[in-house]
């Protein structure tokens, strides 16, 4: 634990320093910017809520990437799986009769979101398992396919009133907001925490998780021990896609209540950062998602002080700093006893 704290401290301090240098370059006082960022994010209920809202989607996509990573699969297509989830969740939600009660509408829409994401990713897994198609290539290509299909369907069927927004979903399918100054954070946050717990349980406590990790570490050994590598790949990708698709619950059911083209764009890619930052552990992914969410929400809070490019850069700086500080601490601590001797 001490090791993680030290690494985190180094990463935060290094990112702070780089950010401060950049702020001085654009001629703003770092104290002022950081101060404003923290103050506006944590003292304003609304901004805090928006940070949690952003973190919700990021965490789900991060969990998706992390889960696939456990099975040795780099799911770079969370973006497309999320888009598929948005499409399915919002169309089905809009097709439900307006009077559908929440206990029916919410599970149906959640299932649609997860199912669509899972279907897209499952296809990637199937291609990998049966044809040996590399999951990075097929999933990144499916991102384009899903985006194209989504926009085409939008243009042909879904957009109403000359906008790029579809018809609203049934009121019963809307997830309740959590208040926080009228911010967008909604019950999907609870779903996300439950999903993180489920992922943790699945990977650490079940034979599925063991099999997935075995395949991730050494497919040959797993196969020889009687684990069906192909099945694991399909299942892990499907589960991963389902998690990414669930992010649609946050965006559609909890926020927009309608199909909108490009909803959640880029979240899937940032989800990769969240998974890597969180070192593939569910708890780590949640923390990483909160950090990235803070940078997003906080970045907006100081938008008038510094250019948006600066906060964009900071995301990369933080990821880089964490990536470098973790092995640094590990090595320094491994060396330490010898130096003492």
């Amino acid at each position: 634990m001490k090791r993680e704290l030290q690494a985190a401290a180094i990463a935060v301090l290094a990112s702070l320093a780089v950010g401060s240098v950049l702020m001085l370059v654009v001629g703003v006082s770092p104290v002022r910017v950081w101060g404003t960022m923290v103050e506006r994010t944590f003292t304003d209920e609304y901004n805090l809520g928006q940070m949690l809202f952003a973190a919700t989607s990021l965490a789900l996509c991060g969990l998706a990437v992390a889960l696939a990573l456990e099975a040795g699969l780099f799911n770079i297509g969370a973006e497309g799986q999320l888009a598929a989830g948005v499409l399915a969740c919002s169309t089905l939600g809009a097709a439900l009769p307006a009077g559908t009660p929440a206990p029916i509408a919410i599970p149906v829409c959640l299932a649609a979101a997860a199912g669509a994401g899972g279907l897209v990713a499952g296809g990637v897994g199937l291609l990998k398992a049966t044809r040996g198609a590399h999951e990075v290539i097929s999933s990144i290509m499916l991102n384009f396919v899903v985006a194209g299909v989504s926009l085409w369907l939008g243009n042909e069927l879904l957009f109403v009133g000359g906008a790029t927004t579809g018809a609203p979903i049934a009121p019963g399918a809307e997830l309740p907001h959590l208040g926080l100054g009228g911010s967008s954070v909604n019950a999907a946050l609870a779903i996300t925490l439950a999903a993180a717990a489920a992922v943790w349980w699945l990977r650490d406590r079940t034979t599925w998780g063991e099999a997935w990790r075995a395949v991730g570490r050494d497919p040959a050994a797993a196969r020889s021990a009687g684990i069906s590598v192909e099945r694991v790949q399909v299942l892990a990708m499907t589960a991963s896609g389902a998690l990414a698709g669930l992010a649609a619950a946050n965006l559609v059911m909890g926020y927009k209540h309608a199909f909108e083209d490009g909803l959640g764009r880029n979240t899937g890619f940032l989800g990769i950062s969240a998974a890597l930052l969180g070192r593939s552990h569910p708890a780590g992914v949640i923390i990483a998602a909160l950090l990235l969410g803070f940078l997003q929400a906080g970045g907006l809070a100081v938008a008038e002080l510094v250019p948006k490019e600066l906060t964009e850069m900071l995301q990369g700086v933080v990821v880089l700093a964490v990536a470098a500080s973790v092995p640094f601490v590990a090595r320094a601590r491994a060396r330490a006893p010898k130096e003492a001797a």
Partner: protein, 525 residues
């Protein structure tokens, strides 16, 4: 002045908290073959790696010729300059490179900016032929069997022309004829003034080839032996020992060496009684064919029977094991415990009562970065439970296997990568042979690169499962192992079963010769 000692080393090496070498000493006379023996984990490989500059020592000194260097300052570049060649146990060849590309690495002949490899390739081919080890210089290493890859490395090391040649377990993957050829070649090299250090477990090889023997145990030198017991009196350099060199010494007596290695007498293996001819077949193969590597293999292993598969490495043994385990596409019939298994998944075959010990624990045997407990429970739903992992059961299972096979460290949470080869192999064996309702066992090279103590343990387990009612098929390049275990031995040659030696013929003095002839295709039995 040229000193008579080529190597005089005293080395300490720690990995983290674990001390691998605690001031182990080694003194090698120039122009001799020096055997370095000891159980797995005794530090043999580490010691020669320090000498070859591949691993940096933490303390101690290396005396090489008339130089004395702190062990911490030695590295591979300097060792290379000092003409120290090494063939490592698991090979150091890059798999995607060809044999000749690996051979020239570091000293590439270049003409007009491009590599000029034809000359080296021809030289390798000639060198190989000269010592009875055919190599294909242009073959990619990853397409070769372990044995062929090892042969290629030995040939390459000889080609590089070392003054001191270190061979770490060179014979582990060689066929008996090749072993003979190589040992003869080592003697020949020594006669020409090359100093040779050979790390091995096999005492008959030691007796056949070594001038001197150093025995390591737990990172310390515990004994030295010499073919010339009077050498000390005649000013033998072994008498000129470094400080703290307090080992026993004596002539080359295999029993004494073995005692020094394990610190106790080895139990004599007992041969199992042959099962009755009426015993039901537990493993049956009919016309099993795998591409061109294995053709129409037909084989029957009865309950309680141990059948050996001998052959020069690369004659279809690997494919035979994989075909039985369902890990390669194969045609023909396979029955496990009387149930047809052809075309079924590996999982189904394991469920029918098969256990499979894969050829290479590093390629498909173990999750190297997982713990001992996790590896012992890998794929074992009978231990873990169907969905939710029963962690108490996993811990109990691990503890039982650790005791049963004396796995060290006896810590279920230890990561397998940090274990010695023998203990890694014990983990594989422990997992496979503890399966419930075992009917058939395929053990592929079950003791390759494993020390004497571990060999005994593993053989005991194989016998035990046979007694308990399984049919055991042992595939091994080590004829001694097969002779010690098996009721019958079949020989694979170029993917086909070339013959079989069993019953009294196997215990007859000519058995070894008969098998050797089958393996090389000299006769058909």
């Amino acid at each position: 002045m040229t000193r008579a000692l080529a190597i005089e080393a005293e080395v300490t090496k720690r990995y983290g908290a674990r001390t691998v070498l605690a001031g182990a000493t080694l003194a090698v006379r120039r122009g001799t073959v020096h055997a370095l023996v000891g159980e797995n984990g005794a530090g043999k490989s580490t010691l020669v790696k320090v000498i070859a500059g591949i691993v940096r020592g933490d303390g101690g000194t290396l005396g090489l010729g008339d130089r004395v260097i702190p062990a911490g300052d030695w590295d591979r570049v300097r060792a290379r300059a000092a003409r120290i060649g090494i063939v490592q146990q698991h090979g150091a060849s890059a798999g995607t490179l060809s044999v000749v590309e690996n051979a020239v690495l570091g000293a590439e002949p270049v003409r007009a900016g491009l590599l000029a490899l034809d000359g080296v390739a021809a030289a390798l081919r000639a060198q190989g032929r000269a010592i009875g080890m055919d190599v294909d210089p242009h073959a990619r290493v990853e397409t070769l069997s372990l044995g062929a890859a090892q042969r290629a490395e030995i040939v390459a090391a000889l080609h590089a022309g070392a003054d001191i040649l270190i061979l770490d377990e060179p014979t582990a993957v060689l066929a008996p004829v090749e072993v003979e050829g190589m040992l003869a070649m080592l003697r020949d090299l020594a006669a020409r003034g090359v100093t040779i250090v050979i790390v091995t477990h096999k005492l008959d090889e030691v007796r056949a080839v070594a001038d001197d023997v150093t025995v390591l145990r737990e990172g310390r030198t515990v004994a030295t032996f010499s073919r010339r017991p009077t050498a000390a009196a005649s000013g033998d350099p072994l008498g000129d020992r470094p400080e703290g060199f307090s080992a026993a010494s004596g002539p080359l007596d295999p029993a004494a060496i073995a005692r020094a290695m394990v610190g106790a007498e080895l139990p004599q293996p007992t041969l199992l009684p042959e099962p009755p001819a009426t015993a039901p077949a537990m493993l049956e193969l009919a016309d099993v064919t795998v591409g061109t590597a294995l053709t129409r293999a037909t084989l029957r292993v009865r309950r309680g029977e141990v059948v050996g598969v001998a052959g020069v490495d690369g004659n279809g043994q690997r494919e035979l094991a994989l075909a039985i385990a369902g890990l390669v596409p194969a045609t023909g019939a396979v029955a496990i415990g009387g149930a047809a298994a052809a075309g079924t998944s590996p999982a189904r075959r394991l469920a029918l009562g098969l256990a499979h010990i894969p050829e290479d624990r590093h390629r498909g045997g173990l999750l190297l970065d997982a713990t001992i407990a996790a590896n012992l429970a890998l794929g074992r739903r009978d231990v873990t439970g169907r969905f939710v992992v029963d962690r108490a059961a996993v811990a109990k299972h691990a503890a039982a296997r650790i005791v049963e096979l004396d796995i060290r460290p006896a810590d279920p949470a230890a990561v397998v990568r940090g274990l010695s080869g023998g203990n890694q192999q014990k983990v594989v064996v422990g997992r496979e042979l503890s399966r419930p309702r075992l009917r058939a066992v395929v053990a592929c090279q079950p003791t390759r690169g494993v020390d004497l103590g571990a060999v005994a343990r593993i053989h005991d387990r194989l016998r035990a499962v046979a007694v308990a009612g399984a049919g055991v098929l042992v595939i091994s390049a080590d004829l001694d192992e097969l002779l010690a275990l098996c009721h019958r031995i079949v020989v694979l040659l170029r993917g086909a079963i070339a013959g079989e030696v069993g019953g009294d013929a196997l215990r007859a003095p000519g058995a070894r010769a008969a098998l050797g002839a089958l393996m090389t295709g000299a006769t058909a039995a």
